[in-house]
């Protein structure tokens, strides 16, 4: 009986998603093959925008920065998150150690950047505390690394939480059996706990991969991709080309490229992990 109504329940949401998500995506894909300034009707130019992508120094910089974001995210928010989880999950009062890491997650990306702006600015708190005179947000790639630390400050807690959930959901028997066999410390983690956590690690790393590929808000609020485009990520380049330079066609080509890269990276990673 319920089966009859399933379509009725699911279809409205599916149609809504199709109309609001896939239709704009197809429109963007079409725009990427045109010259369009938001005013004159789009003019078909084939793959010229994609050819320009290969030859654009700004795009090379933003691709480099995006790769730093992806690699940095794997090492810092994800790697450190795992470390904090492993160190705190089975000790008395461990939850309290995790609370300080968790709180920044409540901030939005833009809010986070607003908070860190006076800390990282040239006459900011970090320079005062460290007794140095460094322009953290000006030179590349230092500015990307500084923003990556801000991102770590926010994301560490949620990754820790997910890893703790993973650790707590591991069945006790294999661990006890391994301990009886004499395994402990690093060997226990490496050969028993880590493989058992694999499904959850796949989710955490997959989410972090997508989030880092589309990094936008922190960069936009802290540096607007500058100075001189040297801290742009692909998402910032997409926004700037589209809405600042009014080159909707080229901006759409960057959007399509970013979508393909994100989709492909997620697919390849998850296919490998969830076999």
């Amino acid at each position: 009986m319920l089966g009859r109504f399933r379509h009725g329940y699911v279809a409205p949401a599916a149609i809504l998603v199709a109309v609001l998500l896939y239709a704009p995506f197809l429109w963007t894909a079409y725009l990427s093959l045109t010259r369009y300034d938001g005013l004159e009707p789009p003019a078909w130019i084939g793959f010229a925008n994609f050819a320009k992508l290969l030859d654009d120094p700004a795009l090379i910089t933003s691709t480099r920065n995006t790769l730093i974001w992806v690699a940095g995210t794997m090492v810092l928010p994800v790697g450190l998150g795992l470390l904090v989880a492993v160190l705190s999950y089975d000790i008395r009062g461990g939850a309290w150690y995790r609370v300080p890491f968790m709180l920044p997650y409540a901030l939005s990306g833009a809010g986070l950047a607003m908070v860190w702006s006076p800390i990282l600015s040239h006459d900011g708190i970090s320079n005062l505390l460290l007794g140095v005179d460094t322009a953290f947000l000006q030179e590349a790639p230092d500015n990307t690394l500084a923003m990556l630390l801000v991102w770590t400050w926010q994301q560490l807690g949620v990754n820790t939480l997910l890893f703790v959930v993973g650790l707590q959901s591991i069945p006790k028997e294999p661990i006890e059996a391994a301990r009886l066999d004499g395994a402990s410390g690093w060997r226990l983690f490496r050969h028993v706990i880590w493989p058992l956590m694999r499904p959850l690690t796949a989710v955490v790393v997959g989410l972090a991969l997508v989030a880092s590929l589309k990094t936008f808000d922190i960069v936009w609020v802290l540096t607007q991709g500058g100075p001189g485009r040297n801290s742009e990520t692909l998402a910032v380049t997409m926004y700037k080309e589209t809405f600042v330079a009014s080159d909707y066609g080229y901006g759409s080509a960057v959007a399509v490229m970013l979508t393909v890269v994100t989709g492909l990276a997620s697919y390849l990673y998850l296919r490998r992990q969830v076999r």
Partner: protein, 416 residues
Amino acid sequence: MYRSRVATLGVAALVLTACGGNGAAAPQKKTELTLYNDKGAWTKYFDEMGALSKQRIGLGMKPNGYTDSAQYQAFIKASFRTDVKPDLFTWQTGGMLEEIVKQKQVAETTAVWQEAIKAGDLSQDLAPYYTIGGKQYCVPMNVAYWGMFFNKKIFDKYGLKPPATWDELVQTAETLKKNGVKAFYHTSVLFSFVWFEQLMAGTDPDLYDRLAAGKAKYTDPGVVQVMERWKQLIDAGYFINPGDKTDPGDVLKNGKAAMVSFGTWFNTSMTQRDMKPGVDYDFFVIPNVNPALPKTSMIFESGPLCSLAKAADPDASMNYLKWWTTAEAQEKWATSRGDVSANPKVTIKDEALGAVTKDAGSGKYRLVNRYFEATPPPILTAALDGFSKFVAEPATYKEVLETIQKEADEYWSTHQ
């Protein structure tokens, strides 16, 4: 099964109806207009104008202020294709106005201009900035002359006077430096062009005009020399850090820099901070770099207030623009912000700004169109990024000029 399909189709139809437009809108009679603008910080002053217009012409106005100009421009462009249309909106003169006028989106204001010039409410000199294809579009929301705002208390402390020559200006910066005070403000965000246009206009205003018209190149020796001069000033340690995000109004008030170069609209920032002209701060016209020039070059800008050809109530919007140019409206608009006005009848309260406006009107200066309006939008975008890179890494000036010229070559190859 059949019923569930019918229900699904019904919901889908509702969704699609909600997403679709409602066809051609019938003309409305409006008693309150919405003024979209990218001057979010001026909401209070727009509100005051709305209250006054309601009282005087029975037509209220509510501002809808954006603070991000890219978002704002994208919204206005999108409104041309949707039913959400602003009754009134601010824009930029130059290439950006031309772009939307060509699309036949902007309501013509030739009649308003003719009447206002006849009544002495607008000057004929201003008309060219608003004329495209022999017709006028929009009215001046504001006009601004650019010069140097300076912290008077710092100047008094070190016995400094407003400089009359470029050498005196550099000497002033040197004295400040010796006393541990940064002389000048500059920024890597948006207003990164300010010192470029000032040095260009004060060195070779003809070259500046040719550059804007695509008749000179950014890699020409004259432009390279200007960048080298700019670099020398940065290297000498006269500027604050360009990445400093302190509001320039606060920079001047707190004395983080002793001088800030902006248009006369910056006086609004001083008003907002309760700073008193002649006591806390003052204003001088920046002397030419090249003393042989016959007139002092002064950067000039005028921002338009426009209405759409397809506005919801075109008559009401046009009436509002007409009222906006009158002395009564402009008196309020200028005095509340402590700014100058496009209406020559308005008395400027601030002495220094009043004198500049009067001198500019009498032809004492060579008015140079601000870089923002003078430069076509795609070149401007590349230049703003380029100057932003330059102020952070001054040694890159040649690379920066080449990058801008590459964009200029691409643009002028199809727009000469």
